[in-house]
Symmetry: C2
């Protein structure tokens, strides 16, 4: 992406170093990070950063549909910069969340039933490819 400044301008959001750093972090890390992950990483290069700012920034970016929160693990919110519809895979073993590029043919059906759909969320839980390999190796 890169042009975080124009992205914020386009949404009439003020340009602040904190917001730019958070956007960049989400754009360059595909881990669907938690608030703590973002906070702890950015704190190193931006020591004055407050965790509240991370919460506030993520909230306003979400309000403007620049990012989306994920409620997958059930005990902590995670964030995703991608806004096109896609799905996720949560590995029970390593805890990582991967993107899955599949499209959902059910959306149309549901819309045809009259539902007004604004968001689509889908995820699978199981053992990812890497962890399966690792388990094979350790046998």
């Amino acid at each position: 992406m890169k042009d975080y400044i124009n992205l914020l301008k386009k949404h009439n959001l003020k340009i602040t170093p904190q917001r730019l750093a958070i956007l960049k972090y989400l754009d360059t890390h595909y881990t669907h990070p938690t608030v703590d992950e973002i906070y702890n990483t950015l704190k190193k290069t931006n020591p004055s950063l407050s965790k509240t700012t991370v919460y506030n920034s993520l909230e306003i970016l979400n309000t403007h549909h620049i990012i989306q929160p994920l409620h997958i693990t059930g005990h902590e919110r995670r964030y995703d910069l991608r806004k096109d519809i896609h799905h996720h895979f949560l590995c029970r073993s390593c805890g990582n969340i991967q993107d899955l590029d599949i499209n959902c043919p059910n959306i149309k059906k549901i819309q045809e039933q009259g539902y007004n759909i604004e968001e689509v969320h889908g995820y699978f839980k199981g053992i990812c490819l890497d962890c399966q390999k690792r388990e094979e190796t350790h046998k």
Copy 2:
């Protein structure tokens, strides 16, 4: 369902009035209730009920795959007795969560890629049919 006693027996779980009440509640209310909803309702007819018991019971029923927790709203867990794969619709207006009987053709694809899938979760967010009608009426 009805035969909650045998369901618990089948899983070698002790039969307690609390567990039976919770099972019955989930079986007869399709609201995907929160812990508080369950607790507050059952408290009326079972005044000694403790919220911890509700948590514990839901936890053990989940462990035995009799129920499943839903992480849809993002700020509170909800529970669902149905164990066959289905999806949900969260209404932004009334907050209700409805069941959607659709099947996901992507499961096979993901499995063919080698993923070991243990759970499938999908939900849509938008405005439900009832709330759309209501909004029409109030115009």
